[in-house]
Assembly symmetry: C2
Homo-oligomer: 198 residues x 2
Amino acid sequence: MSSSSAPTRRIGGPDSQSRAMLLDAAEQLMVEEGYAAVTSRRVAGKAGLKPQLVHYYFRTMDDLFVELFRRRADVNLERFERAVEADGSLRNLWRLNADPRGSAVTIEFVALANHRKAIRAEIARYAERFRAAQLAAITAALEANGAADQMPPVVALLLMTGLTQMMALERALGVTTGHDATMTYIDDALTRLEPGRS
Amino acid sequence: MSSSSAPTRRIGGPDSQSRAMLLDAAEQLMVEEGYAAVTSRRVAGKAGLKPQLVHYYFRTMDDLFVELFRRRADVNLERFERAVEADGSLRNLWRLNADPRGSAVTIEFVALANHRKAIRAEIARYAERFRAAQLAAITAALEANGAADQMPPVVALLLMTGLTQMMALERALGVTTGHDATMTYIDDALTRLEPGRS
DNA sequence: GTCTATAATCAGATAGAC
DNA sequence: GTCTATCTGATTATAGAC
């Protein structure tokens, strides 16, 4: 899948345990200190390995970032689809969206994408996949409640994700004006649309 | 205003022309290549000056970033208030919010804030000020249209800004699924609320 | 106010031994 | 698969001359 234009270097296979440890360490650094802290030296240090191993498993740091994102994205998408399968209600979709677990790292990756083309492409691809999955779920949920005529599902989806993403971002900054009021409002709206749910 | 705990270094005054040129160069770099490109060397190079001058006018690079943000924030806030004074309609508030001019740089600063505490504090302060100004404006606009009972103004505000910020961010990535449909929906909603406007 | 010179780090990346 | 050794270049920051 990766480009093989420079046949000189040796690159380690994807099933190595050290490779996984490096990815884990990189992810942890990214969460705790931001992407700028993800250097070959620091990643290796956290994993208890030598910096050069990073370059053995990942030709460039960009390759590491892309791999990191892909790994996390796959997990996220799977988790989302399993959760929807178990409970496809509007309220659950909202809950999944408001889950801050992924938000912090997402911001970091988006910022990275701003100046790393390889990562931008990867994120864009994933965003489209995730949007499609979310759209299918919210369309079904709105139709189940006879609310699909009030607002196009895709609009509801953008409103919802925009709201949750911004609140997550603001929370990270310590700005929370209006958050409580908004959460209450959404909660009431969900109760109106889906009387049967908690 | 700045801390003066280390009296050893000489720092240039705020009225210098070179200082302004450095800030301009830094801002341009930030827009074009992201904050990672804003190094003392590159900033000075773009301004046609020596890298050491950056450290003469700004004790640290963080100081430069804070100054950069503050300068832009002040301009933004003033522009917003002037625009609202001229036209306080909902539609104009939406237009101002959807204006992508500031969005790209905003993202960059937020990402920076993630790992630079001095900048995080500055952004948080500004975000609160801006929210207050926006809240006053949207409250007045909703009341003028007798729509303040449909939704708390602060909720409308968060929905609006969340939506515009996310769309701006996605546009930067090349992801635009649902954007047109949402813009159309908002446009129709505004026409319904404010029949008199374009 | 601007320069030269330089200290002190840290970065990504590679070659080749074991 | 992992190591030592190393190259090369960038970065922030300071001191002191002019």
